[in-house]
């Protein structure tokens, strides 16, 4: 069997009818991993024994007549910055190359409790810092359709694993686009939930006020199903929300739900500016026409401060990161430089040797932004800009139900193409970072292909805690594009 023939709905139909067993599904995933991972480098850990045992448990439950749990028998991959007790959690860093997690992240535990089978841990940009997955200490991930191209980042391993059929779904984490941009590059669905929607407990922090765990899947319905399992208040995360989690799937079923009559789709001119690849613009504009064909009305809205988003993001995210990464000091766990004789050298050399160049660059940027004498000019001002950006969204959503933008300005670029120019690399987050700053949810889903056959992603943005709208609009588009 080939997982690429399945989504979770189909898998569950097959499991229910006993056309296949969870063990067979798991073995199929492991076979694809064995076959494709050496070239793609999507996974840093493969967990065959653990996965097969979980699959056997599922088969035993089903044999005993137990009903299917929401993710029963679904092979999934966890981004390697999320803790899974008893397994390595490396964050793709030398710093944590041998770090064994002692507890399991809440979102991951909820997936397991829903019956998911974890087949491996996915590669990423070191500590989730990057947009191409070239910043991994364990080598870059390659694009499943073209080994010379990047899968996007930082959840590049997760996106590639789903696209290559190593699993049916994966978790990513998204601080400035790290789920949506690789989802767009690899042609899968990726969701950045509302800030606070999914617990961050057990997610190794990058930018604490921006980070969210979210799903990468083959379909919108699968993403909705995954999010429903992961979302909800967690007593271990004071920033997780008490907002009730709706049954996202309930609205994604009959044909009537693909009817978008009465919907107002916001289109921000600022999101179609300079630097946008013509193929991407074409695909997104065609998708907008499809929305109209489904009955929706296009509404022109404005995000006047979008131009400040990248600068704003790289101050706030790096400032938080500079503190978040201070715990990696070589004292209690992780990499420790050999032959040091003073505490100062222990810190300096362990961090010098343990972190890669992009991580060090961001720690330096963030430390600078918080320094005495610069705090007001950088960090404080960035927080004010953040408030203004949030207001831009509030105003836009007074006029529309969801916003639509490209996910990324270009399709997947080539390995090495942007590594010498960090600013150019940062600009590939232009459409995504704003959502993290505003705290609102966004989803990337495939909307077409470039002339070279590379996937193009479209981003649907919803107001805070209105993920349902995003799923509904995305599901309608997905259906329309399939026909």
């Amino acid at each position: 069997m080939n997982l690429l023939d399945f989504d979770i709905d189909r898998l569950h139909t097959a499991l229910q009818a006993r056309h296949c067993s969870a063990a067979e599904v798991c073995r199929a995933a492991l076979a694809t991993i064995e076959q494709r991972n050496p070239a793609l480098n999507a996974l840093l850990s493969i967990l065959p024994d653990r996965a097969l045992k979980q699959a056997a448990d599922t088969d035993a439950r089903l044999a005993a007549g137990a009903p299917l749990r929401p993710l029963e028998g679904v092979p999934i991959v966890i981004k390697d910055n999320q803790c899974l007790a008893g397994t390595r959690t490396t964050c793709a860093s030398q710093m944590l190359a041998n770090y064994m997690a002692t507890y399991t992240a809440t979102a991951v535990a909820r997936l397991e409790a829903a019956g998911a089978v974890i087949v491996g841990k996915a590669n990423l940009d070191e500590f989730a810092m990057g947009s191409s997955n070239e910043n991994s200490a364990f080598g870059p991930v390659r694009h499943p359709l073209d080994p010379n191209r990047v899968p996007g980042g930082s959840s590049g391993g997760s996106a590639a694993a789903v696209a290559a059929g190593m699993c049916l779904a994966a978790t990513g984490s998204d601080t400035g686009g790290s789920i949506r941009q690789p989802a767009a590059f690899c042609g899968v669905v990726g969701v950045k939930p509302t800030y606070g929607r999914v617990s961050r407990y057990g997610l190794v922090a990058f930018g604490s006020s921006l980070d969210q765990i979210g799903p990468l899947t083959r379909t919108v319905r699968d993403a909705a199903r995954m999010l429903r399992v992961m979302a909800g208040y967690d007593e271990h995360d004071a920033t997780s929300s008490l907002h009730a989690v709706p049954d996202y799937l309930a609205e994604l079923s009959g044909d009537a739900d693909t009817d978008l009559r009465g919907w107002r789709i916001g289109v921000a001119q600022e999101a179609f500016g300079a630097g946008l690849d013509p193929a991407v613009e074409l695909a997104v504009r065609q998708a907008l026409k499809t929305f109209e064909a489904l009955g929706a009305t296009l509404v022109e809205v404005s995000l006047p401060r979008l131009g400040y988003a990248i600068a704003d993001y790289y101050i706030i995210a790096t400032a938080e990161a500079s503190a978040n990464l201070a715990r990696f000091d070589g004292v209690r766990y992780g990499y420790r430089a050999p032959d040091v004789t003073t505490v100062h050298d222990l810190y300096a050399l362990s961090r010098e040797q343990g972190f890669g160049p992009e991580v060090k660059r961001r720690i330096l940027l963030g430390t600078y932004a918080l320094s005495s004498g610069y705090y007001d000019a950088y960090y404080l001002k960035a927080q004010k800009v953040r408030t203004l950006l949030r207001r831009d969204f509030d105003r836009a959503f007074e006029q529309c139900d969801v916003l639509v933008t490209p996910t990324a300005p270009t399709p997947a670029f080539k390995l090495g193409e942007k590594t010498d120019d960090p600013l150019q690399m940062y600009l590939s987050d232009i459409y995504t970072v704003t959502l993290n700053l505003a705290g609102v949810p966004g989803m990337s889903l495939p909307c077409g292909k470039s002339g070279e056959g590379l996937p193009i992603g479209l981003q649907i943005v919803a107001p805070a805690f209105e993920e349902s709208r995003m799923f509904r609009a995305g599901w309608a588009l997905e259906h329309a594009l399939l026909q």
Binding site: Q82, H236, T239, T367
Partner: protein
């Protein structure tokens, strides 16, 4: 060269401010459910949160908010309805996250004060003259403690240090005074009172040896009459009342000496060394950390509604200084006496219960101060720990007042109350009744004594008056000590008069 006392009196004025870290006595840590008990095996009281493991997040313990609120009320601080946690960034091996979660520009509470008796001391450490002074408190914020580094006394200590993270995440409040103290004894009296007040509201166990109360002192010197502050030093690591007082005096003397020699004070952080009774430079201003404070993104702002604050305030007991003043006024106690019986809330409760039951504050104080406190230290005295209840003690006082017991007999009854736990009246019964004050009975006994001792009687009547004590002794002996001494005196005087 002029001596220090003269220089202090005539030329210089010390300006002192204190920063006190008090451990809030919650059962569990501030951001995780680990226990806070002292003395557990090293690193036993830890979890992913207080170890700073990757991915772990802090969640505020609501018990900390309550205790902090009580501490704020104890010090007349205004509680902010919104306060914000911040990260204080610095590297240290016992700081697992590389930052301490504290509060910075929006602290939990501000603008408090205490108004308390304070006095200079003579060379024997005795107070010279008490006076009431108000010391302002700038702010009190909530923060987490770090762990403890151990550099000595363990296998391998010669080339390694150890870290114990049991303390990591223990809740603290940092209480920052205004620079209102003008002598080391004012600082001493303030810290004493602060400890007492925190114990009253049950916010801190006040145990200085275990580090529940730690003090840093900012000291500077200026010319008398000047309204500008001199350059200050901060002395750290003062973990006993005596150290605080001595370190401040040391620092005052050191700074005056420098100024007198024409030097200038360097702004720096210094460390008190008790063994050598002096302070040492720890780090200079240039080496001071840039803590890069910024709001803690993992914790939402701490919001307390006015109603919540009012509800907490309603649970605050009467504070030690107001209570001391009330005792002094209502019960006629001196400053020292009222201070003694308000040492702890429990002791004050005991005293007040005894006053209420007996209606005799003076006698209640004397018995508690002289008899009860000879058996149980005041810090331990409470309604539950005292070997006699306030009601039983009041009953005993009543028996003295109504003449049933002499003071001497009362002490004997008190001893038996202690050993048997029985009420005083029952003990008096066992002893064959109380004091004999019946004049007729005593006259009869006295007459017998006089008749049995003709020689002494004759000598007394001849002018050998010291023999009077002999007759008193004989009467007391015959009554087994129960005769009312005043009555015995009066009767014997009368009967021994030479017959007319």
């Amino acid at each position: 060269m002029t001596d220090l006392a003269t220089l202090l009196r005539e030329k210089y004025e010390p300006v002192i401010g204190l920063e006190i870290h008090a451990q809030l006595n919650t059962r569990t840590k501030i951001f995780c459910p680990c226990p806070t008990d002292f003395g557990a095996e090293a690193n036993a009281n830890t979890c992913p949160v207080c170890l700073g493991l990757p991915g772990a997040l802090p969640v505020l313990n609501q018990a900390v908010v309550e205790k902090a609120a009580f501490a704020a009320f104890a010090l007349n601080l205004h509680i902010n309805e919104v306060s914000v946690f911040s990260r204080k960034n610095y590297f240290y091996p016992d700081l697992p996250k590389g930052y301490q979660i504290s509060q910075y520009d929006q602290p939990f509470s501000v603008a408090g004060y205490v108004e308390i008796p304070t006095s200079e001391r003579d060379e024997g450490g005795r107070p010279i003259a008490w006076q009431l002074k108000r010391f302002r408190i700038q702010r009190m914020h909530i923060e987490e403690d770090a762990g403890k580094s151990l550099h000595e006394g363990l296998p391998g200590s010669s080339d390694a240090s150890y870290v114990n993270l049991n303390r990591s995440g223990v809740p603290l409040v940092e209480i920052v005074s205004e620079p209102d103290f003008r002598s080391s004894w004012e600082a001493y009296d303030y810290v004493q009172y602060l400890r007492r007040a925190l114990l009253y509201v049950d916010a801190c166990d006040g145990n200085m040896e275990e580090g529940s109360l730690r003090c840093d002192a900012n000291v500077s010197i200026r010319r008398r009459g000047s309204d500008r502050f001199g350059t200050r030093t901060e002395t750290k690591n003062l973990n006993s009342f005596r150290f605080i007082q001595r370190a401040i005096d040391y620092e005052i003397a050191r700074q005056i000496r420098i100024l007198e020699e024409g030097g200038h004070i360097v702004q720096e952080t210094r460390l008190w060394n008790e063994r050598e009774a002096r302070t040492y430079t720890m780090r200079s201003k240039e080496e001071a950390h840039d803590y890069r404070y910024f709001p803690e993104p993992d914790l939402p702002p701490l919001v307390l509604s006015a109603e919540t604050i009012a509800a907490l305030r309603a649970r605050v007991p009467e504070l030690p200084e107001p209570r001391r003043r009330r005792f002094a006024e209502a019960y006629g106690l001196s400053l020292e006496d009222s201070t003694l019986v308000t040492t702890t809330r429990e002791a004050a409760d005991f005293f007040e219960a005894c006053v209420r039951a007996s209606g005799n504050p003076r006698a209640a104080f004397n018995w508690i101060a002289n008899e009860l406190l000879a058996r149980i230290p005041i810090e331990k005295l409470s309604l539950t720990t005292s070997p006699v209840s306030p009601e039983a003690l009041a009953e005993l006082l009543a028996l003295v007042t109504d003449g049933t017991l002499s003071n001497k007999l009362a002490k004997e009854v008190f001893e038996r109350m202690l050993s048997t736990g029985k009420p005083p009246k029952a003990i008096v019964q066992e002893l064959g009744g109380g004091q004999v004050s019946d004049v007729g009975r005593i006259e009869a006994i006295a007459a017998e004594v006089i008749a049995a001792n003709p020689k002494q009687t004759a000598e007394y009547r001849a002018g050998k008056t010291p023999l009077f004590a002999f007759f008193v002794g004989q009467v007391m002996k015959a009554t087994k000590g129960k005769a009312n001494p005043q009555v015995v005196n009066e009767v014997l005087k009368r009967l021994l008069e030479p017959p007319q």
